[in-house]
């Protein structure tokens, strides 16, 4: 099976960035952040988002330097084949781990709130074929599907936020947490961040025309503002009882379910969670596929999907099946992989950019000398 990935344009890339920025950040994270560092954790959230946007900026610089090259060829050129393979192996582990975390939170959410008798197998059956199909259909299909669903996503999100504002009914204690606890909470919950490195895996498949970068940055900025707003509304709505409410985007709707006799409008947020989960898992799988192909360029694409599905199913079935384990996994194991997205990858990209500039300068000086 050969997957043909046609290029993504700036709008599609922007929408994928918008969607992926929400991954793992609007369900369990707000409750954990408030528990760790109160309302001040919002500052940490904004601070980490600056790094996330920084990754997009880094991608922008690299893409401008190497407009038609893939990240694999850039790595190979500057650091050799070994580093390239190691990098893409890290990509595979990174996105597989993220998918496991995301799936677990979503599964536990549905099990607790919709259908407690549901089995892991049933939910897997609902998700895996569709995300596989999205990934197999190619990047353009993924991008266009995201484009089609974007108005629904944006509409529901704004509705959730507006309704959530009516539920704000607390006077939180401000600045009661130490700087240390804020930083430590941020580091403990850094696992949901760093997803923007998917752009590097898609590098040669993204086609941004001149002047369209602002579209990408606008989507990223809008997503950041909306995520911070969801977190803030949740924290201001629940404050000291945040620990009782582990599903933020759902909870900000459920608190006002009596409002205006509209009935259980919290169901609307469930639609958002479902749509997001499909896209997040599909992007993770697609990035895994592209990275896998860089490690094993000669084997068929179907093996990358089968590998992802097999490892994914084994992990989610045997290791992480409840919220407690998922939180331990997200707080104690996953934060370490953030080193890759926020430290190792940027350092290598910087070195590649600098060495590229030095080579250029040397070339010019040699020409001048001649």
């Amino acid at each position: 099976m050969r997957v043909i990935d046609r290029n993504l344009n700036a709008w599609q890339t922007g929408i994928l960035i918008f969607i992926l920025l929400f991954a793992n950040k609007i369900i369990v994270l707000p409750s954990l952040l408030f528990e760790g560092a109160g309302l001040e954790s919002i500052f940490m959230l904004v601070f980490v988002f600056m790094f996330e946007i920084g990754l997009i900026w880094l991608f922008y610089i690299l893409k401008k330097r190497y407009p038609n090259k893939s990240f694999a060829s850039v790595l190979q050129k500057h650091f050799g084949e070994g580093v390239k393979v190691l990098f893409f192996a890290a990509f595979c582990i990174f996105f597989l781990s993220k998918a496991v975390l995301l799936y677990n939170v979503t599964y536990i959410f549905f099990r607790n709130l919709i259908y407690k008798d549901t089995s892991n197998f049933l939910i897997l059956f609902c998700f895996l074929p569709i995300i596989n199909h999205l990934a197999i259909s190619g990047l353009r299909a993924l991008g266009r599907t995201a484009q089609m669903f974007f108005p629904v996503i944006a509409g529901i999100l704004i509705f959730c936020l507006v309704v959530g504002i009516f539920g704000i009914d607390s006077r939180p204690l401000l600045f009661s947490n130490s700087f240390e606890s804020v930083v430590l909470t941020g580091l403990r919950h850094i696992a949901p961040f760093g997803d923007m490195i998917f752009l590097f895996a898609f590098m040669d498949k993204i086609e941004v025309k001149k002047g369209q970068w602002k579209v990408i940055f606008s989507f990223a900025g809008a997503a950041t503002i909306l995520i911070v707003a969801v977190n803030l509304i949740f924290m201001l709505s629940y404050t000291y009882t945040s620990f009782m409410h582990p599903y933020a985007i759902f909870e900000i709707m459920s608190f006002v379910k009596e409002f205006g006799g509209l009935g259980r409008i919290d169901i609307i947020s469930m639609v958002l969670i479902i749509v997001f989960a499909y896209f997040h898992l599909a992007i993770y799988l697609k990035t895994f596929m592209l990275s896998f192909h860089q490690i094993f360029p000669k084997i068929d694409n179907i093996y990358s999907i089968l590998t992802f599905d097999f490892v994914f199913v084994v992990i989610v079935t045997f290791f992480i099946v409840n919220l407690e384990t998922a939180v331990v996994y997200g707080e104690q194991i996953l934060p370490w992989i953030a080193i890759f997205s926020f430290l190792i990858l940027p350092v290598f990209v910087f070195v590649a950019l600098l060495s590229g500039r030095r080579k250029k300068k040397t070339k010019f000086s040699l020409e001048a000398a001649e």
Binding site: I130, N132, R171, P172, L173, T239, S254
Partner: protein, 440 residues
């Protein structure tokens, strides 16, 4: 057909769909309908059960009520010294019928924990208990007064129970309260949860949901409020000679243990601090406290023995239309001075003259300056009494801790450090009250 088959096998999603139908479609057909599996609980009552009746089955509420005593499980019987809970569930058991009528049953069970008692109640009706539609939790005063926090953990952890579920105490067994509530609902559609929601809008009461209670309990002041309701019959509350049949509302069907003219009334508000019951506030006291907090939208206030150009020794009743409350804080010698600035928009709604003569409505458009002064004095007195209630009970119901902390964190914590006992901070804060009255 051949084309169809080709397309079918070429499109993987069709295959997935087919597998899904085979795997889940047929198994779903074989399962009993969910409507027959669940009992939807709309109200939950918790009582302290007496160990002595472990060996006896209990029967409550006649034909519509079924009970599950502690006599089935031997381990419950043997637990003579342990605390037993009796859980009463007002359940809606869905039955497919042509007409749409909701049929409720009162079910109960006893256990060493709330969850065990609920399980035993579920065994009695042979259905799984669904708490997602729970609207109200009723706790008997016995439990509330002896150790509320021992069994609240279940309510805290249960993900099915919505945080907006109302929680109230009752001055009678919760079981009896729910039976009376069921009867009221059947006869007059008076729903207890709606009752609480309505009351909380008034100055005499407080919001009493799981969320507000836990928010107060886990907040910096650790003060939680819980409303108390009663569903006693009128003759029990007022005159012993009152007949129960005068209102014509009795049918009871020969099953009700309670009085036929029962009404739900608010008794008082329980105040808890750090897991202990501190005090009970009556309607008047709650009104005084609410003047300080500003947590109300409706209510009225009475100025007694008022005299001016129009009235002589009259009792004036004002309806509150709008209110705003602001706190300004200054520090004098390290001691916080809290200025509570209240604005009230009122309308004179009733005049009770001592002469008993009905007069012309002379105050149609304005409230006289004398009346405004009298109202200001009345509100200030009420607020001062409200502050005294908080001070006497060392319960910061208004959450001045957060207000002062957010205003000037360093100055407030220096003030706390300067106190021998930082918990006494309410006694040391200076309050200044200013009230502005506007006529509607």
């Amino acid at each position: 057909m051949r084309f169809f088959c080709k397309q079918f096998f070429k499109t993987p999603m069709f295959l997935v769909f087919a597998v899904m139908i085979v795997l889940y479609g047929f198994s779903a057909l074989a399962k009993p309908a969910e409507i027959n599996q669940y009992a939807v609980v709309t109200a939950l009552g918790i009582d302290k059960a007496e160990n002595s009746d472990n060996g006896e089955g209990t029967s409550t509420g006649g034909a519509d009520s079924v009970a599950f005593g502690g006599n089935i499980l031997s381990d419950v019987e043997s637990a003579q010294d342990e605390q037993l809970y009796e859980v009463t569930l007002l359940t809606f058991i869905p039955v497919a019928q042509q007409n749409f009528t909701e049929k409720y049953k009162v079910v109960n069970g006893k256990g060493r924990s709330v969850s065990e008692a609920i399980d035993l109640a579920a065994l009695n009706i042979g259905r799984e208990i669904g708490l997602s539609h729970l609207k109200i939790i009723v706790l008997s005063h016995e439990l509330v007064e002896t150790g509320l926090f021992k069994f609240l953990d279940y309510l805290l952890r249960n993900i099915q129970i919505s945080s907006s579920t109302k929680v109230v105490a009752t001055d009678e067994p919760a079981k009896e309260f729910l039976e009376a509530a069921q009867k009221l609902d059947n006869e007059s559609s008076i729903k207890v949860a709606e009752h609480i929601m309505f009351n909380s809008d008034y100055i005499y009461s407080t919001e009493s949901s799981l969320e507000t209670f836990f928010k107060g309990t886990f907040g910096p002041t650790h003060v939680g409020l819980m409303a108390c309701l009663s569903a006693k019959g009128k003759e029990e509350q007022t005159t012993p000679t009152a007949s129960s049949g005068d209102g014509g509302s009795s049918d009871g069907g020969g099953q009700a243990q309670s009085s036929p003219d029962e009404m739900i009334t608010q008794c008082h508000v329980y105040v808890f601090k750090e897991e202990n019951l501190v005090t009970k506030l009556g309607e008047r006291d709650m009104k005084r406290v609410n003047f300080v907090i500003g947590d109300y939208n409706n209510g009225s206030l009475v100025v007694e023995n008022f005299s001016d150009d129009h009235f002589q020794d009259a009792n004036l009743t004002f309806e509150i239309f709008d209110k705003s409350i602001g706190y300004k804080i200054v520090y004098q010698n390290g001691i916080p001075v809290v200025n509570i600035d209240t604005s009230l928009t009122l309308r004179l709604s009733e005049v009770e003259q001592n002469t008993g003569i009905l007069q012309e409505n002379v105050e149609l458009f304005v409230i006289t300056p004398q009346a405004i002064k009298a109202v200001e004095k009345k509100v200030k007195t009420s607020m001062a009494e409200g502050l005294n209630i908080m001070r006497e009970n060392q319960s910061d119901i208004a959450d001045f801790y957060t207000i002062l902390h957010n205003d000037n964190r360093i100055a407030f914590h220096n003030f706390l450090d300067s106190l021998e006992n930082p918990d006494d901070y309410l006694d040391r804060i200076v309050f200044k009250l200013s009230v502005r009255i506007y006529a509607k």
